[in-house]
Amino acid sequence: MAENVKSGKEILDDFFNGIETIVHVDADIAKMLKRLYQEDKLTDTNVKNELQQLRDGDKD
């Protein structure tokens, strides 16, 4: 198989490792998604709660 072929896990690892470099993406959201992925806790409920916490914590 050619070199550029990645397994599903490699695709996910690469994506979440580089998520903070995606242009115009809020750094806190990128960091939060990366953390949840790495902790194997990336579920829609967890993301929803984390987004709420980010909104609550953002006092500006």
């Binding site: 198989m1 599903g8 995606i22 998604l33």
Partner: protein, 814 residues
């Protein structure tokens, strides 16, 4: 680099056709095994499949079959243990026996190796493509487009990618819903209305607010200049001292209640329209609950279609109800029903969205009503009407909320929108609030500072609320935008990843297919993704036929071509996904191929898969004898035959050398039971070799029949040839005659005839066979090619001789 796994030996006992121990001592080598139909060669593939996956696909797919029971050889007793033992080259730590035995009347499975290394190895192996049978060849092609995608996605771990994509999509949608639910515009407009009422201007900047307040308090000469929010508090504290504190508190409470009511009143149409949408979706599905129930039938229909597609059911009737109907018609109907189910799933998704929105909208409004109902002032006598009005409103909105959690399949109806819609009368009690506010304001009119207090306080709150809404909306919009970018980027990466894989994988499939089918009109075979940019929903197969793209492949492919594709697909999968194991088992995979394709397949295996250990099972005698065996021999493969007898079940044909050792050991130990068949087989082998080497003329027979010559027929042929050509060899006739006239020969010539000769007779007969052999095999120890054969004919001396030293020779007239 991790060791690639090859098999050292496989031993199966009491599994399927193999009653006694059947051992394949491979030592890491490839093997081609021939077995006639019914000899049970698939016992080996069944045993290996069960060892690795705990299932045997062709047995497990039939619910009437108890797998464990079917795996056991039918001749076993309850105390017998069925066993598959696999040992590996240079990896003895993962050698293991898997056993199947009765424990308290239940068939139980056990592994002899419980180490973590073995468990890990077994897990890895489950993901790999180790075994292919004829009946699996068209599995991939026969799958629906979405199943094809699922199949490949599962193998390469894309299922996890799809799950993560769904999480990102749901998160993005939840933010969108939250923005809609908050209805920031309506909330902001109400607060703007308050600002206009209290300060006489729609204010959006802090400076303007401070300026307006300064204007209002100027006549009071408070000495306070408002430049920041803290200054407003100072002003309010100053005014509070001079006014009726109780009335101010009541006014603040009433105005809060009024604002909540105004906001909800302004949202009556919004709530009604979202509920109407939900009601319509609910009705649509509730009136067609069957279609939702149908989604549960989807799996059954898919399974039914697979049964028909794979021709497990061949008669023209429905396999379930047995009503007459052509299989094509049945499959077309199933396709329509599956399409309908797909539509139903879409309807349900739209319904779920509407339901969720009504639920969150109502919860949010109830929360707002509760901010008033929880205020201590609502409990005072003067607030009785307000409390009742708010409680009634809360109840009405709760009815909306209850309807939003009703199960659509419950059979219950949900109320029509008009019965729930909030009416003007629901807000009538607000008039009393308005009147009381006016009363207080009238009182305050007599006290300018009280009016100012009330107006400034309300304006400050309204302004801050507007700013809060703006901030909340901004935060949500910012999150929505980020998630949208992340989701789109993810979809792009997922699609690229899958396409990279598919392009590379397609290349291999095409390479193997073209290798087996050179110069045929089917070119550039590939698998391609189907679906929108962000929603892949399937995979299909395409190829160029006479310059035009064709899909699906069944259109022009013959059965043989389809099977060839299946084989190419499997081999490409082996190439792509087998990271740990370097062996594969191919069970009768070329049955539908013509001789040319069989030849090309064998060449493909020997050329492109030479690094793999291959266990090749076949019942194609010609292909085995005339093509694969010679090629396999050159490449150092093992070659053997599988046989079946009633007493031994499935077993391997022993090499003559091994057979001779066994016969002589048993004769020496006087164990003569069941020696008849081995001696017959040995004699047949010897006679065939002699007949071949002296070119004895025997009657013409086709293929297999030629191989099944009886000893008597072979002896006649050999004697006749010798009589014609060699006076010297005629002198050796006594030994041949002794064999021919032996009573033992008559008895053992019947393949399964049990007989019990005396040990002495059997030994004498065996001695004659060896003596006969000595005539035609040179006994000189340095003779490298000891067989006496016409291939070594000395045309000058007119002698037939051995091919090595030439010392064993006889007169021979050609």
């Amino acid at each position: 680099m991790a060791i690639k796994t090859k098999i050292n030996s496989i031993t199966i006992k009491g599994i399927r056709g193999a009653k006694d121990s059947l051992e394949l001592p491979l030592k890491g080598k490839s093997i081609v095994l021939y077995g006639d139909n019914g000899t049970g060669k698939s016992s080996i593939s069944d045993a290996l499949e069960w060892f690795y996956t705990n299932r045997v696909y062709h047995l497990s797919s039939n619910s009437e079959i108890d797998l464990k029971d079917a795996l056991r050889n039918s001749g076993l007793g309850k105390d017998d243990i069925s066993e598959v033992n696999v040992s590996f080259v240079k990896e003895s730590d993962i050698d293991c026996s898997k056993t199947l035995f009765y424990k308290r009347d239940n068939l139980t499975t056990d592994f002899s190796n419980s180490s973590d290394d073995f468990k890990k190895y077994l897990e890895l192996s489950k993901e790999e493509n180790l075994l292919l049978r004829y009946q699996y060849l068209t599995d991939f092609i026969d799958n629906t487009k979405s199943d094809k995608l699922k199949y490949l996605s599962d193998i390469i771990g894309f299922l996890e990618v799809t799950k993560k994509k769904d999480v990102l999509k749901k998160s993005y949608n939840s933010i969108k819903t939250e923005i809609k639910n908050q209805n920031f515009e309506a909330q902001t407009n109400i607060q703007k209305g308050t600002l206009i009422e209290k300060l006489g201007a729609a204010i959006s900047q802090e400076e303007n607010l401070f300026e307006k307040i300064n204007e209002k308090i100027k006549p009071l000469k408070t000495g306070i200049e408002v430049e920041k929010f803290e200054d407003i508090d100072k002003v309010l504290a100053h005014l509070k001292n001079e006014t009726n504190n109780k009335l101010n508190k009541e006014l603040a409470f009433l105005e809060k209640a009024n604002t909540v009511l105004d906001t909800i009143k302004s949202e009556v149409e919004f709530i009604d329209s979202e509920y109407t949408n939900y009601f319509n979706e609910f009705e649509l599905i509730a009136n067609d609950v069957e279609s939702i129930m149908q989604t549960f039938l989807g799996e059954l229909l898919k399974a039914g279609d697979t049964v028909l597609a794979k021709k497990y059911h061949k008669t023209d009737n429905c396999p379930l109800c047995l009503q007459p109907k052509s299989i094509e018609e049945l499959r077309a109907e199933i396709a329509i029903r599956l399409k309908e189910i797909e539509e139903s799933s879409k309807k349900k998704a739209s319904f779920d969205k509407a339901k969720q929105l009504v639920n969150s909208i109502t919860i949010e409004r109830i929360k707002r009503l509760e901010t008033v109902l929880l205020d201590p002032l609502v409990e005072v006598d003067e607030s009785k009407l307000i409390k009742k009005g708010f409680t009634d409103l809360k109840e009405k909105i709760t009815e909306y909320q209850k309807a939003s959690v009703e199960r659509v399949t419950s059979g219950n109806k949900i109320p029509k929108a008009e019965t729930l819609k909030l009416l003007t009368s629901d807000f009538e009690f607000q008039n009393a609030i308005g009147s009381r506010i006016k009363e207080i304001q009238e009182i305050f009119k007599k006290d300018n500072s009280a009016v100012l207090y009330s107006n400034i306080s309300a304006s400050k709150d309204a302004f801050l609320k507007i700013k809060l809404f703006e901030k909340q909306k901004e935060k949500l919009e910012k999150q929505r935008k980020s998630l949208e970018i992340i989701y789109n980027e993810f979809v792009k990466v997922q699609k690229e990843g899958l396409e990279n894989f598919i392009t590379s994988f397609s290349g291999k499939i095409n390479e193997y297919y073209q290798y087996m089918n050179p110069d045929e009109p089917f070119q550039e075979i590939k698998i391609v993704t189907v679906g929108d940019e962000d929603e892949l929903n399937g995979i299909t197969i395409e190829y160029k036929y006479n310059g035009n793209w064709v899909s699906p492949p069944q259109k022009y492919f013959s059965e043989s071509h389809l099977n060839c594709f299946g084989l190419s697909f499997f081999l490409a999968s082996v190439n792509a996904f087998n990271n740990k194991n370097e062996f594969i088992l191919l069970d009768d995979v070329i049955s539908s191929f013509d001789s040319n394709h069989r030849k090309r397949f064998a060449e493909l295996i020997f050329e492109k898969f030479s690094k793999y250990q291959i266990i090749l099972l076949t019942h194609e005698a010609d292909w085995f004898t005339n093509f694969v065996s010679p090629l396999a021999k050159k490449k150092g493969w093992l070659i053997n035959e599988i046989k079946w007898t009633k007493e031994k079940g499935t077993h391997l044909e022993e090499e003559p050398r091994d057979l001779r050792v066994r016969i002589e050991t048993n004769l020496a130990d006087s164990k003569i039971e069941n020696l008849g068949n081995p001696i017959r087989r040995y004699l047949e082998h010897s006679l065939k070799e002699i007949a071949l080497n002296i070119e004895a003329k025997l009657s013409f027979q086709y293929n297999d029949s030629n191989e099944h010559r009886m000893p008597y027929e072979l002896i006649m042929g050999i004697k006749s040839e010798i009589k014609k050509c060699s006076a010297e060899l005629q002198a050796k006739f006594p030994v041949i005659d002794r064999i021919e006239s032996s009573a033992i020969l008559g008895n053992i010539s019947s393949h399964d005839n049990p007989f019990n000769p005396k040990i002495g007779d059997l030994k004498a007969f065996w001695a004659d066979i060896l003596e006969l052999e000595k005539i035609f095999i040179c006994e000189q120890s340095d003779c490298k090619r000891p067989l006496v054969s016409l291939k070594n004919y000395d045309s000058v001396a007119k002698k037939i001789r051995c091919g090595g030293c030439g010392k064993t020779k006889y007169d021979w007239k050609k």
